[in-house]
Amino acid sequence: MSQALDEVKIGGLGASRQRVEDARFIRGRGNYVDDIVLPGMLHMEILRSPLAHARIKSIDTSKAWAIPGVRLVLTGEMAAQRNLAWMPTLSYDTQAVLATDKVRFQGQEVACVVADDPYIARDGVEAIVVEYEPLPPIVNPVQALAPDAPLIRDDKEGQTDNVCYRWEVGDAEATERAFAEADVVSKLKLHYPRSHPSPIECCGSVADYNSATGKLTVYMTTQAPHIIRAAVALVAELPEHMIRIISPDIGGGFGNKVPVYPGYVCSILCSILTGRPVKWIEDKTGNLVSTGFGRDMYLTGEMALRADGKILAVRFHADTDQGAFFSDAQPSKFKVGLLHSAFACYDVPHGHITAQGTYTNKAPGGVAYRCSFRVTEAMFFQERMVQAAADDLGMDQAEFRRINLREDDSFPARTPFGFLVDSGQYAKCLQMGLDAIGYEDFKREQAEARKRGRYLGIGISTMTEPLGAGNSREYDILGIKMFDSAELRVHPTGKAILRTGAKTQGQGHETTWAQIVSHELGIPADDIVVEEGDTDHAPFGMGTYASRSTPVAGAAVSMVSRKIRAKARKLAAHLLEVSEEDVEWELGRFYVRGAQSRGVTIQECAMAAYTNMPDGMEPGLENNAYYDPPNLTWPFACYIATVEIDPETGVWDVLRLVAVDDCGVRINPMVVEGQITGGLTEAYAMSNMQFQTYDAEGNIVGGNYMDYLLPTAWETPGFELHEVVTPCPHHPIGAKGVGECAAVGGPAAFVNAVMNAIGHTGVRNIDMPLLPDRVWDAIRTGKDISGAPPFRNA
């Protein structure tokens, strides 16, 4: 009789296990970067530029130096003496650490002050006098591309205009032929506004250079500690083995904590110069005005359609506003991320995409904000185009999707832009969503309500996105392939420690990785401790962003566990005195084939690995695995929103939001659902209120939480979650990424719902955010509303 363990009871796959990390967080005993205190530690504050574009004429630091308690005032010129005034970005550009020649955006780092406490450092910053000569600011791609536009990046040799990259993919000729045969061509233009990931915890670091040992230890808010170590080795010209990056508890990342920021570099340099640990903790304004934003993309597209609703081809152009430096963290082959994942869930035969990036006098970024590198823009554009196309054909939006979504037996399928989509049950997910929301009933209710002057709307968003970069043929950052890793050490008593190259920031790796080990080995999850983020301890990995943890590091956890199991099998054969071929596995134990009661547990095998191994066997039960995924993972989602608009004010309320997510096998359903509700809230935020813009002078609007609106518990709607499971065909446990699906696919559901509610007015598009005054304007005038909301003086 089987003595296998109950997997859910031991905290394996499918267990909604309570989170291990909660124990410290609910007691206020987390260890975030600002909680770290080292003996003799000094504090650093940054002076930022008040102007968007200006030449620096002089910097007078004498008054700052004179303040008691100020230990160091660092300027760009001083950094330049160490060859550190500029640093490379993760997109093969350069970025100023401290400005030397001119400032290129409001909030740019100009100098920093190190003092005995943060208040004195702030006094020091206020005492620095900088004389600027203002230059004309550029705040959008149109201005940037004007023939007489001032050159923003005059620091770059050979740069003669404000273009930062050009990129193209697809087959222009085949697409053109398809358009020539189209019955209908549907067109749409839109702007995805600039948005900031804005984790509640800002960025920060504690740099500790030990001049006796030559070792640099940096505690840092980073989602990718090993990338940072490599970057610091290159930038600071320190040997890599003498650099230790420790990413402690992180108060949210969402892509904001992937790039290397000037503050980190300055804290390191200041520690080297003062010989003491230096802490830098960014304030909220510093975070919002200078660190990686997301989006700020203009899209113009066309869809070639047959009268019966079949999509024949798509083509579109994207203009991205990169700000002053091209500092996206993205795979090096793809200049505009994975924008070309657009339309992957639809059977579209032909397509062509062009993209161009421009420098502007705005904060640098374009990071993957809760997104697999520009996938958010891709899916938003896709789903807005799909709705526009259905409307242009006079076809129901659900029916139009049914006609064009890939069928279950069509996988694997190649998209016109080169991706291989490998699995899904799209029609089932769509139908589940429609049934849950009561689609036909709602449409009747909507028609009735319209007669009484009420504006109800329903919006659908269906999408698959490529998560888990990625296979090493295609994906690298600064040349380093985007694999990931896990190291598992099983101790003599059968307890274990697991380390990975990923870095949790709220995703719950300490809980869920243990569940994968538990699934593979039958060791109770409570007996496994998980550690990440310390480059001296963790195996080399590329970190956590782009929903890559479960697809890549999670797969490595499975693979290392299987290596351990393979060795344990030999130990079991030795203990059971049979040949290895006669040993069978069930969860948690090996037994003799044909004699199931004769067995040994995984814990007994672990003890034997240290006390009783067979002759010739290497002792110990430890191993590691580096996982290079064969493909990306392709989760699918269907989000359906219903809204009601008050035509008198333009205010819209979400009536319901139904989410159907197919992210493959779920490791911990509770954690997965937490990721989905979090993502949906960001989707709601982006559609409704959350954006940054700049006035004509280059002043940022949205540089603090008074101006940059995030939804609270009060306005955030409730969400109804549903699930479909199509296992990933190549992942060891069939899992797919999930952390960003809702934030990626969600915005279009809300916007489509609002557009659906006012479809009778002739308005075809309102760009996000759908602020009440914009919706009201559109209803009143019957005209589209385009671009970021204009800056209005109070």
């Binding site: 007691r27 509640i200 909220k284 709220g506 509700t677």
Partner: protein
Amino acid sequence: MEERRITVTVNGEPRTVEIEPRLLLAHLLRQGLGLTGTHIGCDTTNCGACTVLYDGRPVKSCTMLAVQADGHEVTTVEGLGTPSELDPVQEGFTTEHGLQCGFCTPGMMMAAKALITENPNPTEEDVRWGLSGNLCRCTGYQNIVKAVLWAAEKQRAASAAASTDVTV
């Protein structure tokens, strides 16, 4: 700057410190007293990560001077529950998965504690309104709301049991 001597009762223990008048309460708690459970998120009183109880009422400690707390009582997350027993609010947050990165959690829990102390039987709407001064970027609030309703229920059950004990 001239220092001032103040005494604040923090988590039930009187603490006397000499501080600059400009020192913020959040910084006194974190740096002066080493109570790093209180987090600082935004500096503008919007995010609520720094919420503590001031004479039992929730305040945002990043926008209050430490000297204002002279002679008053402050409760931080470290004062919730005991080493052996969690407060119902803490228990609710972990049971209902009301936290992810954990950064907003201490402030959110302190606001929740004040809410259910004042209103032991809140509706979902009461909770959403009562916590609208605290921002969370991870959870989407749905599970935070559940956590607070869970805690309120637990607290009601506990006080019902306690009053039964008294009458018996």
